[in-house]
């Protein structure tokens, strides 16, 4: 190795050092700390009862119906909203892609749901569905207290999520659409393929990496859903999610030991999702990612 290379290597590390240090301090350390705390009985309301209890916290969580219920809810919300977003994202992407006039305006407007604060979006929809102040009941001619029953509350939460994140999905898909060569479509059209056939046979396969990346991003993002549920139901009516459970255990109950164990389990959940995606679609994913 010559002098220049070793200089370059040192500079590379030097330039990365601040960012890496910051990331280690604010993420790696707290995660390891959570791992450590999860082995203790450590409740801030009983500071003097701190004691090492091994895996008891995990046993207690995994045998609790509350955990499985929250996990189930989170998965339901994730699966339903991500699949609907994908379904709606395609037409949205096509519209944005094909827009001839107002291109700027259309694209800018679709970015608004994405850029708006989640809390504000959740409140807007909550008020819209409110039986006394909202317009939805008047519009649909219903008399429903939407957020007071499990399934209708889920409906409102999912609607909010979809409204907020479909544009993001659509943008990623649109970026994939630009990769589809125009002459390929023309050739298929000449060969007599109809729009649907062109879409399924040509566009989707080429876009597959982009679709998978978008779905992975959104799945992991939906799995940590917190703001919308917190604002709209606070987990009542059986809509609690794992993030809400973590918040309640940490911040409401101040039970750091148990909360840390919940954290670790959520973390493992995220790892499992990522591994499933990478195992399932590994090759397509790396093609799509920007890891050269």
């Amino acid at each position: 190795m010559n002098q220049k290379q070793s200089n370059e290597r040192r500079l590379g590390w030097l330039l990365c050092a601040p960012a890496v240090t910051a990331l280690l301090v604010v993420t790696a350390y707290p995660i390891l700390y959570a791992l450590w705390l999860s082995l203790f009985r450590y409740d801030l309301r009983f500071p003097d009862q701190r004691a090492f209890i091994g895996l008891d916290n995990y046993v207690s969580i995994l045998t609790s119906e509350v955990w499985w219920h929250a996990l189930g809810n989170t998965l339901i919300l994730t699966i339903i909203s991500v699949s609907l977003e994908l379904l709606l994202g395609f037409p949205l992407a096509l519209i944005m892609h094909h827009t001839l006039f107002w291109r700027r305006a259309v694209r800018a407007t679709t970015l608004i749901p994405y850029a708006i604060i989640t809390v504000v979006a959740a409140l807007a929809w909550k008020f819209a569905f409110d039986p006394t102040i909202g317009f939805v009941n008047a519009l649909l001619g219903t008399e429903q207290a939407w957020l007071t029953q499990r399934w209708s509350a889920f409906l409102v939460i999912i609607l909010t999520e979809i409204w907020k994140t479909t544009p993001f999905m659509a943008l990623l898909l649109m970026a994939g659409l630009t990769l589809v060569p125009h002459d390929l479509i023309q050739a298929a059209r000449v060969d007599g393929a109809n729009a649907w056939q062109r879409f399924i046979k040509i566009i989707v396969p080429i876009m597959k990496p982009a679709i998978l990346v978008a779905v992975l991003f959104r799945t992991l993002d939906a799995f940590r859903i917190f703001d919308t549920v917190f604002i709209q139901t606070r987990g009542a009516q059986g809509t609690e999610t794992v993030s809400l459970l973590g918040y309640n255990t940490f911040i409401v109950s101040l039970n750091l030991g148990l909360g840390s164990a919940v954290s670790v389990l959520i973390f493992i959940g995220v790892l499992i999702i990522s591994v499933l995606f990478i195992k399932g679609f590994g090759a397509s994913l790396t093609k799509g990612g920007n890891a050269e």
């Binding site: 700390y33 608004i112 703001d227 794992v242």
Partner: protein, 278 residues
């Protein structure tokens, strides 16, 4: 025949545009309309206000809490953005331009960090902050914001940097500039749009945060607007101050809407750069 097809296509996509715009704007218009309703008309179940009143805006700005929260939100989001983009810029440059072991690991690590749920670390951070006295301070929020801000900055910047004309950099180095000088005098001006894009997106994310804000702050010292809105007390014991919440929501939505409308091209490029090559 061709003409008619074309016209049909135009109408079809035009309708699509209208639907898309209505879809995106509906809740925004709704919250604006709520904020302008008189409190006695709040229950009229109409979409648009019958009479327009700015009373809600007057109240939130004459209250102590909201202006303080707005100041906190702005200050914390701006500082987080500056910090993340500065550190991210150095790292992204090194990752793209320099040959050194571990650079792929850094990029992958950053992506992994961006994807894990914040709730995982609020407990440990709360416990750390209460011992070192960072609870309810600006720094106490800025540091945890790095968990999503830094990966986002590194990821976007490295994607942009990969596409930049680096010949200029090489030319400068041939002329005898050190890598550092080449970085400061040649690359920084070239990279400005990329940096700006990263900054916008990081700002939007920091502006949006709710979980850290409600967990790690408690007073006007550091409470940001999303947290304040969620816990608005209102004057009477049982009524939810809907009009005030709506007005406060509009106030914090306006800045991001302006940013989005002006910089939509950059934002689209920034968002898609991380996911799809090109």
């Amino acid at each position: 025949m061709m003409m008619r097809n074309d016209l049909m296509g135009r109408i079809f996509w035009g309708m699509g545009n209208l639907i898309v715009m209505a879809y995106a704007l509906l809740p925004v218009l709704w919250i604006v309309s709520l904020s302008l309703k008189q409190s006695s008309h709040l229950n009229d179940q109409r979409f648009f206000p019958q009479t327009i009143s700015f009373e809600n805006y007057r109240i939130i700005f004459s209250d102590m809490q909201f202006p303080a929260a707005l100041w906190n939100s702005i200050g914390i989001a701006v500082i987080s953005t500056l910090l993340a983009v500065t550190l991210g810029m150095f790292a992204a440059y090194a990752i793209v331009r320099l040959e050194f072991p571990g650079r792929r690991l850094i990029l992958a690590g950053a992506l992994a960090t961006a994807m894990f749920p914040s709730v995982v670390i609020i407990g440990p951070i709360f416990n750390m902050w209460r011992t070192v006295g960072l609870f309810d301070t600006w720094l106490g929020l800025i540091l945890p914001y790095m968990t999503f801000a830094l990966p986002l900055a590194i990821w976007i910047l490295s994607a942009f940097f990969r596409e930049m004309p680096w010949d200029l950099d090489k030319a400068a180095r041939v002329d005898g500039a050190t890598p550092l000088q080449a970085f400061i005098w040649v690359i920084v001006p070239l990279a400005a749009p990329a940096v700006f894009t990263a900054a916008i997106l990081v700002f939007i994310f920091a502006w949006n945060d709710f979980l850290f804000a409600i967990s790690l702050t408690s007073t006007n010292n550091a409470r940001t607007v999303p947290a304040v809105i969620a816990f608005f007390t209102g004057s009477s014991r049982f009524e939810l101050p809907t009009g005030l919440i709506a007005a406060a929501s509009v106030v914090i939505t306006v800045p991001v809407m302006i940013i989005v409308l002006i910089f939509q091209r950059l934002i689209v490029a920034g968002l898609t750069s991380g996911a799809v090559k090109g």
